[in-house]
């Protein structure tokens, strides 16, 4: 049965369980992340007949994050498998995470037999009902002959338009029954939807004209650039018109950080000059981004002088948060390819010079030059890691302060080299997502950067790393706090550190229990050695970085404030290095 060509050339009778794997293999799937149980057992029983690697996770949430990391690292669809009931409900957080970050994953769940649907049978849960608002679409399959068409349609939906998660719930009797498997005939009908009647204002010609007349333009780069494969086109646009590029968190790797036109991250924890540039801009051209509240600050004062051009594949994003002047709905790459022939070179030096002035001396942001005051700051770790890996590693971050420091200090030059949970901000994402990334790209170096809090949410996946013998380096940024929440308490709740101090196990010992070696780092001088030890070793390695406990991420725009109203690093604090500190 593993002889692919036979199976796909001639319609063959298969059980629903076999059809499941045959369809996945036919869609190009080589790896799946899952956890078995009664309602999915027929499928697991048939797995050995197919050329698909199954990674056994330790919690189904991990399976969805792995599928997610797999998809983000490779651009291919990630697949997670779980049983009915608790297996299915454990997927929910990971599905929601993929929904908010537009990641193409397909989740397959077992379901109780169709004869007992709706009876509260053992481990029956209405998972299609539960996941309705957090999937692009889902399917309840109760007949063997529907398995292949539903799954193939699921792959189409997950990847089409704005990508996202899809769930296919397959009853046990559908897995056990048999039907003729005809892969070609199961192909989904082409998308047939009509353009919405609320297409936004403006036209390509107007966009070109706005850009031609722009004196202070800024490109807002989002993850859509990666999805669309429009990296080259965005770069050409930026270079031809000399437009500086500000990125969202998820768009950071869509434009090389070392490019002279790169401004870095915008928004709540973006550098002051980036946000000032946006506030002063006369034209904003948003590419595959959705004006999330974390990047706009209060909408009333957002980029008041700018005409806004929005290139976006999802029409429902147009005028959702920010009113735009020109909306170009479609695939970014196609839109830019239509636009570029009409774009002629322009001298942008005056505007770039103005931004350079705002940026000031911090343009050379070299924390290595600062005197060592004995303290270890998370920023040191990020900076050393960036230098030591020459910015070439895939970095998978969790959620919190360390996530923002990584975004500020690790300069990503390679597409898809930063994997992080943006929209949902899911703690516990990093470790499993890194496993997915490593499985997708075994030849790439992978680093996990997680906080002491988030790491503990999914740390059992260390066992998965050990069992699969994966070469993943793990940096725990251990500040003894749920740091980002502590920071909010410091700024907005009079330092009432309610429930944020965090006692943790000895992470090095925890790794050791999984036969994963590790090291503890408490001083800045030890960072490089530990990083080198981790890199030189084949196999996983964990470093417990004991960093300054009450450090905060600066600058910060409080929720509800304007983009230019930021909290800056207080002068009496030991400086990291930042333009706004000066």
């Amino acid at each position: 049965m593993t002889n692919g060509s036979e199976l796909y050339a001639h319609p063959t009778r298969l059980t629903g369980a076999e059809a499941l794997w045959a369809t996945l293999a036919g869609e190009g799937v080589r790896d799946v992340f899952g956890y078995p149980g009664g309602a999915i057992l027929p499928a697991y029983d048939a797995l050995r007949k197919f050329p698909i690697r199954h990674i056994l996770v330790r919690h189904e949430q991990g399976a969805t994050h792995m599928a997610d990391g797999y998809a983000r690292a490779s651009g291919r669809v990630g697949v997670a498998v779980a049983t009915s009931g608790p297996g299915a409900t454990n997927l929910v957080t990971g599905i929601a995470n993929a929904m908010l970050d537009s990641v193409p994953i397909v989740c397959v769940t077992g379901q109780v037999s169709s004869k007992v649907l709706g009876t509260d049978a053992f481990q029956e849960i209405d998972i299609t009902g539960i996941t309705m608002p957090i999937t692009k679409h889902n399917y309840l399959v109760s007949r063997a002959e529907d398995v292949a068409p539903a799954l193939r349609d699921a792959f189409r939906v997950a990847q089409s338009g704005r990508p996202g998660p899809v769930l296919v719930d397959i009853t046990k009797d559908a897995q056990q029954g048999s039907a003729i498997f005809d892969f070609a005939a199961a192909a989904p009908a082409p998308a047939r939807r009509h353009a919405p009647r609320f297409n936004g204002p403006g036209s390509l010609a107007e966009a070109v004209e706005l850009l031609r007349r722009a004196e202070r333009p800024v490109i807002l780069a989002g993850q859509g650039i990666l999805h669309s494969g429009a990296i080259e086109q965005v770069r050409t646009l930026a270079e031809r018109l000399q437009i500086p590029v500000a990125s969202t968190l998820l768009g950071l790797t869509a434009f090389p950080a070392s490019h002279p036109l790169s401004l870095g991250m915008m928004g709540m924890h973006g550098e002051s000059w980036v946000n000032h540039a946006i506030q002063q801009a006369d034209v904003l051209i948003a590419c595959g981004m959705r004006f999330d509240d974390r990047v706009t600050g209060t909408l009333a004062t957002y980029a008041p002088k700018a005409k806004k051009i929005h290139i976006e594949i999802d029409p429902s994003e147009i005028n959702k948060n920010v009113r735009v002047d020109v909306a170009l709905i479609g695939d970014l790459k196609q839109v830019l390819e239509a636009m570029l022939p009409q774009i002629t070179r322009r001298d942008g030096s005056a505007w770039l010079h103005a931004i350079r002035t705002m940026r000031g001396s911090a343009a050379v942001r070299d924390i290595q030059q600062l005197p060592d005051n004995g303290h270890l700051y998370a920023a040191h770790v990020m900076n050393d890691l960036w230098r030591e890996t020459r910015g070439e590693s895939i970095v998978v971050t969790d959620v919190g302060q360390h996530q923002m420091w990584e975004a500020q200090y690790y300069k990503h030059d390679r597409p898809r080299s930063l994997i992080t949970s943006g929209g949902l901000g899911t703690m516990g994402f990093a470790l499993p997502a890194a496993i997915g990334a490593k499985i997708a790209c075994p030849e790439k170096e992978v680093w996990v950067i997680a906080g002491d809090g988030g790491f503990q949410m999914t740390s059992p996946e260390l066992a998965t790393i050990a069992q699969e013998d994966l070469d993943i380096n793990i940096a725990v940024i251990n500040n003894g706090y749920l740091g980002m929440v502590r920071q909010w308490q410091e700024f907005f709740y009079e330092k009432n550190y309610q429930s944020t101090p965090l006692r943790s196990p000895d992470f090095v010992k925890l790794a050791d229990a999984h036969e994963i070696p590790g090291a503890r780092v408490t001083r800045r001088t030890e960072v490089l050695d530990a990083v080198r030890a981790a890199r030189s070793r084949r196999g996983a390695f964990l470093i417990d970085f004991r960093v300054q406990q009450e450090d905060s991420v600066y600058p910060m725009i409080p929720t509800g404030a304007a983009l230019h109203e930021m909290i800056r690093r207080p002068a009496e604090n030991p400086l990291l290095e930042s333009a706004e500190d000066a």
């Binding site: 009902g129 679409h137 082409p190 939807r193 609320f198 297409n199 429902s316 005028n319």
Partner: protein, 196 residues
């Protein structure tokens, strides 16, 4: 300003579709005033008319989210002036021999049909705009008739004139026409509409 919006939605005729559509209104904490579903002119495609009161921006958000559903083929927020909007009501009214003839007269004024007659009640069937139905109900109540039972279909809407071409496009694989500017629904006040 919160006004009544009338969404006409063409969807695949499959299990769960209604739930997906209704869920979008629920997510925005928006009450559905009325909802009708039935088959359309195309096999396998159902037509829903959903009426809900919502401010303009929320109505737009509903429209935009409806488009994202896989099983939704076409959505339209039809304004009252551009569409024929109808509703059907069945009213069972308490009436004995003495009061029957008065009710017959009332029914005639409203062009309602008497569809059932029992010793102590009659059933009226009325089709028309919502306001026409409200009008009959109001008069019955003010005239101290007792409405024993009322069933209403909720509004159905169809744009006037040659509109279907767009719908046909939506159902075929024809490449989409370039963007049509937003069609804002005009403010609607069904209660002001004269009895037809």
């Amino acid at each position: 300003m919160t006004v009544l919006h009338t969404f006409v939605i063409l969807v695949d005729d499959r299990p769960g579709v209604l739930s997906r559509v209704a869920s979008l209104f629920r997510r925005l904490n928006t009450n559905i005033t009325s909802l009708t579903v039935g088959r359309s002119e195309t096999a396998g495609i159902s037509r829903m008319t959903i009426v809900a009161a919502a401010p303009e921006d929320r109505a737009h958000r509903i429209l935009a989210s409806l488009y994202k559903l896989e099983e939704v083929r076409e959505v339209d927020d039809v304004g009252r002036h551009s569409a024929v909007v109808r509703e059907l009501a069945l009213l069972k009214v308490a009436a004995g021999v003495a009061t029957r003839s008065d009710l017959f007269q009332l029914a005639e004024v409203f062009r309602a049909r008497v569809v059932d007659l029992a010793p102590d009640s009659i059933m009226l069937e009325l089709t028309g705009s919502a306001s026409k139905i409200e009008g009959l109900v109001q008069i019955l109540e003010e005239s101290k008739y007792q409405i024993l039972e009322m069933a209403r279909t909720g509004r159905m809407a169809m744009r006037r004139g040659h509109h279907t071409s767009r719908v046909m496009d939506a159902l075929s694989d024809a490449t989409s026409e370039p963007g049509i500017a937003a069609v804002a629904a005009p403010a609607q006040d069904f209660l002001e509409e004269a009895i037809e």
